[in-house]
Amino acid sequence: MAAEDMGKISDRVRLVFTISSVIFLIVLAVAPLRNLFSEWKYYKREYFRMADGRPDTKKLLADFHPGIDQIWQPNLNVTDRCVTCHQGINQPSLTDATIPQPFRAHPIIPHRATEWGCTVCHRGQGFATEVKEAHQTTLAWEQPILPVRYIQGTCGVCHRTDIPEAPRLARGRAVIEDLSCIGCHKLQGIERPLMLGPDLTNIKNKTSREWIFKWLKDPRTLTDGNGNISVNGYENEDEPRMPRFRLNDTERAALSAFLIDRKSNLIEPYKFDSRVTAAWEKKPDLVDQGETRFRQMFCSTCHSLAVVRGGETQLIGGDIGPELTKVGSKVKPDWLVSWLQNPQAYLPQGLMPRYGWSDEDLYKVNHYVMDRLTDPDLLKDVRIPEQAQANDIQSGNRLFQQKGCGSCHVIAGMKAQKDFGPDLSAEGAKSVSELDFGAAKMPRNLIPYLESKIADPVSVNPNARMPQYHFKEGDLGSVVTAALSMRGTQTTPGIHALVIADARPEYQAAGDFGKAYERYKCYVCHRFNGYGGTLAPDLSYEGSRARQPWITEFLKNPQTLRPTLTFRMPQFNVTDEEARVLANYLALVMQTNRVDLTAHHPEFTSDQASAGKQLYEVTYQCQSCHTIGSAGGYVGPNLINAGNWLNTAWIQEWLTDPQALVPDTIEPHRAFTAEEKSALTAYLVTLKQSGTVKASVPSGGSR
């Protein structure tokens, strides 16, 4: 280039430079424009427009500002920008269902959204200000918004004890306990009970190899000739407590051979009193009498029987013990007698109480069970493949451990099996990289994984050892909810500090009371200071509530208190001494300070009693829920014997504030005046059923 040409730029270069500059500026404008027209700004404008058209504009826009809103809780690791678009969250006037989302207000919940943030409960990406990024699984964020049907799972992260506002969570936890998942998996908040499956050491004494073989095939109750199944365990519907394992006939033969082959203590056949035998042996109505006795002793409170009602087979009875429809074809008669006399001799951890049997009762009931609760075709189709005995037993031994039977069933002499399945105590906190999807086709997310795995383990892992469960409608969702609540130890110290630990009260009864308490297993149905079952009333304040003579009488002869209950307290045939000890303890120890039994009450006059009757029948119409005799409503207990049953001080206190004494009672809390209370108490105290305070031990000889 010549010196004079320096500095000259050719036209072509100028053109290229101009065009590329213009293009560059256009491209440069893309980023600011995207910023200007971002999604959240759109929603802010929309909210402003919506609020403008409403009567309470000022209130709705009080906190409005055109930038990004966020809820910041550093101790909970919460930085939630959801409120940028969801601006009506705290506005009570926007709760109507016609308000378009995202402006609708949050339903009223026990926690304030602005204090807790959104992602603590709903998960999802709180950082995001874009719709897709906030709600769904994206490249940079794995955890989508929790579907509403599982939202109660996050309640359970802090509320380790069940709360009434989260019924699905409570249901899920109950199902997990019922199905004994704890047998194979470690779970958060669930303790391994003392006994999961029965001790199989002496199974040889109880039943036959054919029965075991059939049971391993399908651990429900046994099908009848038509193939109808009457079900076992798990709240009277389809799912048995023992799962259905994937076994073939050879494996079943091996296992049954192994179990039958164990050395066990022989049972001495019981010698009934010869007079009883002589009297009852030939009686034609022996079995009917046995059935009557069976019914009178309310075995059905714990055990259910399949009956045909209205054309369909239903299980009537409780699910604390196994159902007994065909138990006569299952157990050996000697075993049954020894069991009834002392269940803990066979199953030390069993929950069956040790009744006080008279020989006569035992004889009758035994015959009833063995003669009527049977099915002669039960084991007809059982074909055990023939194989060398020794091989079977050895492979049965191996299979017992391999299939995980040892996780639930104990056999004396065998090492206890632990950790058969993976540790699930932090399952709800697992990230996608920790889950083994295998070749399954599903979105790579925790929730589809849990749903698929629990519903059908083989679909996720073809070699799964987890059995196949069949859940009732809605229970699969409940179990997933409960699983989502198990997040292990919280890494955020803020959340860790908020966890309401599971309060499992312990209650140890000792002394003579303790002996009777353990013998009759009161805690299976009743609660004592927070510990025990919920089938029957809480006895923590029984001493304040009931009079001691009444308690003594009730223990010997449990009566009907509530007209419509299916489950009643069985008649244990407690001795007089035991009844005295139990009643004494309850009356003296199980009291509440709210009821002062020693306070002196002035005598009630008959005027007060008639005024009380007037209040009862006319003003407050208590008969809508309570019966006196046979007239009245079914909701509350029968008051015909209220004078003998309830302490006066208790009645007074109860009428003042029932929920203070029994928190979940539905007796309405009314605002009685002091006179009304006295009048009603006076009336109730006059209700005495004559002839009830007597000891009535049913016919039967020595014990």
Binding site: I26, S93, V148, R149, T566, T619
Partner: protein, 163 residues
């Protein structure tokens, strides 16, 4: 070889510019999560399932602990108390009777009891046993299961509710 590079550059530019046009499409593709917090089978037709939101589910819970004994024909314990009572209380899903009563009226009768509203004294007052929010939740549940279905009454002013 100018034109190929010019075409390539303009193509790149066009693609870059069009990225900015994609914002609102993601909003319309978005499907909100499953709405049903709880559910209740229709009392008249058990095949039909009614979805319940949070408030209605709480109402369902309270109904089944406190109200079902008298206001339903079958209860979890078996028989219902309804036939013992004269006058018979309405079934909770009785839309013919209940739809015409306003929410305020129901709130009052549940809180204060039947005798305070010139109805049978057999209906107890729940105002001291249940919180006002809980009673509102029960009413919401009752509206949800009503047959014939409950229609929210029309308002005279703007379509948005007023506080």
């Amino acid at each position: 070889m100018k034109w190929p590079s010019v075409i390539m550059i303009s193509a790149l530019v066009a693609v870059a510019a069009l990225q900015g046009c994609r914002q609102k499409s993601s909003a319309t593709d978005f499907k909100p999560p499953d709405k049903a917090y709880g559910s209740e089978p229709d009392w008249n037709n058990s095949q039909q399932i009614i979805s319940l939101n949070y408030q209605q589910t709480q109402g369902q819970r309270i109904f089944y602990s406190n109200c079902v004994w008298c206001h339903a024909s079958a209860t979890p314990a078996g028989p219902s108390n309804m036939s013992n009572l004269k006058p018979q209380p309405p079934l909770a899903n009785d839309g013919a009777t209940l739809n015409s009563l306003s929410n305020d009226y129901l709130q009052n009768i549940i809180t204060l009891g039947g005798s305070a509203m010139s109805k049978s004294a057999m209906m107890p007052p729940w105002g001291r046993t249940l919180k006002q929010d809980e009673i509102r939740a029960v009413i919401a549940f009752v509206r949800a299961i009503a047959q014939p279905p409950y229609q929210q009454p029309a308002r005279t002013s703007s379509q948005y509710s007023e506080k």
